[in-house]
């Protein structure tokens, strides 16, 4: 029984990854319930307390509880990496699917050239430069105010598109020449319907694997960009901006400020990587999904 479940995730590693990912997702969703303190509550009488019974992970320079901030920071990290991945998948899968299914025409040429140009963009530099150009701070669209991190996640999502589109394109190109597609055509099914209900499900496996690996890279990018002050804005906690604060305490020995947020990042990235590698073994044995880089 256990064997069967682990096999779904490509073995023990993938299964452990899946459980960790579930825990991290639960942390993100239930942050208000499980955080022992308000992550923004300043208490100057309790600043820089080492880890102890009252504050398991200690407190920071403003007396805020580090554990609560790590829990809430996970929510911010997940928000950026998950939503960026969703934007990338929606854009990438639809472009790749259309280019692959309607191959051999001007549409394919146009889409693939545009995607080639987008692939010539170094991701992190552009994310940092564009957030910088747009300006740091909340912004308002049609009456709803969004935090600064929304800019980052939209940019990341757009920059993910070429990778995901290329993977979908390769699958769609191969699938649309398969016999079952010809059979569906003979049955008189329209091309749009074949594309969406027959071809699409058959080229999703490598996309799922790549999306999981992109979640891992998204967490690192969010942390890095917040670290240089262009992501989640203080006082709101994120693992990256907590580490930026911790930099000021490197020489005075308050190790808990840098160790816990960093460990949280590493644990989440390990979790998504384990899950991604496991899913790759289970769903994508030919390893079409690319190596993890950014």
């Amino acid at each position: 029984m256990i064997r069967r479940i682990t096999a779904l995730f490509g073995g023990t590693g993938g299964f452990i990854g899946a459980i960790l990912v579930l825990l991290i997702a639960a942390d993100g969703l239930a942050a208000p319930l499980i955080a022992p303190y308000d992550p923004l509550a300043v208490d100057m009488t309790a600043s820089l307390l080492p880890p102890g019974p009252g504050h398991l992970f200690g407190t920071d320079q403003a007396g805020r509880d580090v554990l609560s901030r790590v829990i809430w920071g996970g929510r911010a990290s997940l928000e950026v990496s998950v939503l960026a991945m969703v934007i990338g998948c929606v854009g990438g899968v639809s472009l790749g699917l259309v280019a692959g299914f309607f191959s051999g025409g001007w549409l394919e040429q146009l889409l693939m050239r545009v995607l080639d140009a987008m692939a010539a963009i170094p991701l992190l530099i552009w994310a940092i430069a564009l957030v910088g150009i747009l300006g740091v701070g909340p912004f308002t669209v049609v009456g709803i105010t969004f935090g600064n991190e929304v800019k980052l996640l939209v940019l990341l999502g757009v920059l993910y598109i070429p990778t995901l589109a290329r993977i979908t394109y390769a699958g769609a190109l191969a699938e649309s020449q398969a016999n079952y597609v010809a059979a569906r055509r003979l049955q008189g099914v329209g091309p749009l319907r074949i594309m969406i209900s027959d071809v699409l499900p058959n080229c999703l496996s490598p996309v799922i694997v790549q999306a999981t690996l992109l979640l891992a890279i998204g967490i690192i990018i969010e942390a890095s960009v917040s670290f240089v002050g262009l992501g989640v804005q203080p006082p709101n906690p994120s693992w990256g901006n907590m580490l930026a604060d911790a930099r000021n305490y490197l020489f005075s020995g308050e190790w808990w400020l840098s160790v816990f947020p960093g460990a949280a990042i590493s644990l989440s990235v390990v979790a998504f990587n384990l899950l991604g590698d496991g899913l790759r073994d289970a769903l994508d044995p030919r390893h079409t999904a690319q190596a993890l880089t950014a």
Binding site: I125, I128, L250, P261, A294
Partner: protein, 316 residues
């Protein structure tokens, strides 16, 4: 070979033009005029109009882009800073060497080590060495470089006196001193790609070793070393592609690493330019990075053609 080179360069130039025009439009589309930033909130309407006229900001974006492109092609100029009024080229040239050194050292060290470790790991599959390499590879992609940097500074620069906590000692301070000061930054920069590349080398090598032609090669009684060279030539093709991309991406991570170690390189210059809202400089720096990224990809493609000439036959 030549046809492939020309084709690649042609497409890359096209990409560069497309991407740079995107960047140009984005920097011009911000609601704040650079004039507001330079003149402050109490600049009069007339002063702003004058500033915009002086810097050509009142012309259509397409014309501005055309002028910028012309300046770059004819004079190799990357534009003029709105804040200081100086051309941005010399500023970039002054800070590029440090960043380039960090990235090149990190790149060479991560490539050499990862190809070595990946190959050994594939040859000695399921031994202690293999497990060790794979464990390091999983940790390497999971620990963010800038956090590793903070921890290593705490452990080896603050608690122990092995490395300086930041900055780069100039060559004039002594070769050892210099190498000592770039050791931690390059390690933190390279470890991620070392992990990625060693994993790729291992899986690619395993795949090649399982091919029929390797069995044939062994059956003909070729010496082991020759067989290994043949296997590597084939196995390295996907590794070289990713390595080429990594080289370009490393400049992005160098930005974060330079911030941690207080190194004043090109990436640091980008952050300062962003804080000062000096968009001409931001644009120039991003173009340099994008150019390096595209160039690295061309070089890796050509390396692959050299490793496996059949690739050229397929692609042209």
């Amino acid at each position: 070979m030549l046809a492939l080179l020309l084709r690649r360069v042609g497409f890359s130039l096209l990409s560069l033009v497309l991407v740079s025009s995107c960047l140009f439009v984005l920097t011009r589309a911000i609601p704040d005029s650079p004039a507001r930033i330079v003149l402050g909130q109490d600049g009069t309407q007339a002063q702003i109009a004058q500033f915009e006229h002086d810097h050509g900001l009142d012309r259509p974006v397409a014309v501005q882009y055309g002028l910028w492109l012309k300046g770059m092609l004819l004079h190799g100029s990357l534009g003029t800073s709105f804040i200081t009024g100086r051309p941005v080229g010399p500023d970039i040239a002054a800070t590029l060497p440090v960043t380039l050194e960090l990235v090149v050292v990190a790149f060479v060290f991560s490539c050499v080590l990862s190809i070595l470790a990946g190959t050994l790991s594939a040859l000695l599959r399921d031994t202690v060495l293999d497990y060790g390499t794979r464990l390091i590879a999983v940790l390497g992609v999971s620990v963010p470089g800038f956090w590793l940097a903070l921890v290593l500074i705490m452990a080896f620069a603050v608690d122990r006196d092995w490395f300086p906590p930041g900055g780069v000692a100039p060559w004039s301070a002594g070769v050892l001193q210099h190498l000592d000061s770039i050791a931690l930054p390059t390690f933190c920069l390279g470890i991620f790609y070392m992990a990625v590349l060693s994993r790729m080398t291992r899986s690619s090598m395993l795949e090649v070793l399982g091919q029929d032609y390797m069995r044939t090669a062994r059956a003909t009684g070729l010496p082991r070393r020759r067989i290994l060279v043949y296997a590597l030539r084939n196995a390295l093709v996907p590794v070289v592609t990713v390595a080429g991309m990594s080289f370009g991406y490393m400049f992005g991570w160098a930005l974060i690493i330079e911030a941690v170690f207080n190194i004043s390189g090109l990436s640091g210059a980008l952050l300062t330019a962003i804080q000062q809202r000096d968009f001409a400089l931001v644009q120039g720096i991003v173009m340099v990075f994008t150019f390096i990224f595209i160039l690295a990809n061309i070089v890796s493609d050509l390396t692959n053609v050299w490793l496996n000439p059949r690739i050229a036959a397929v692609r042209t």
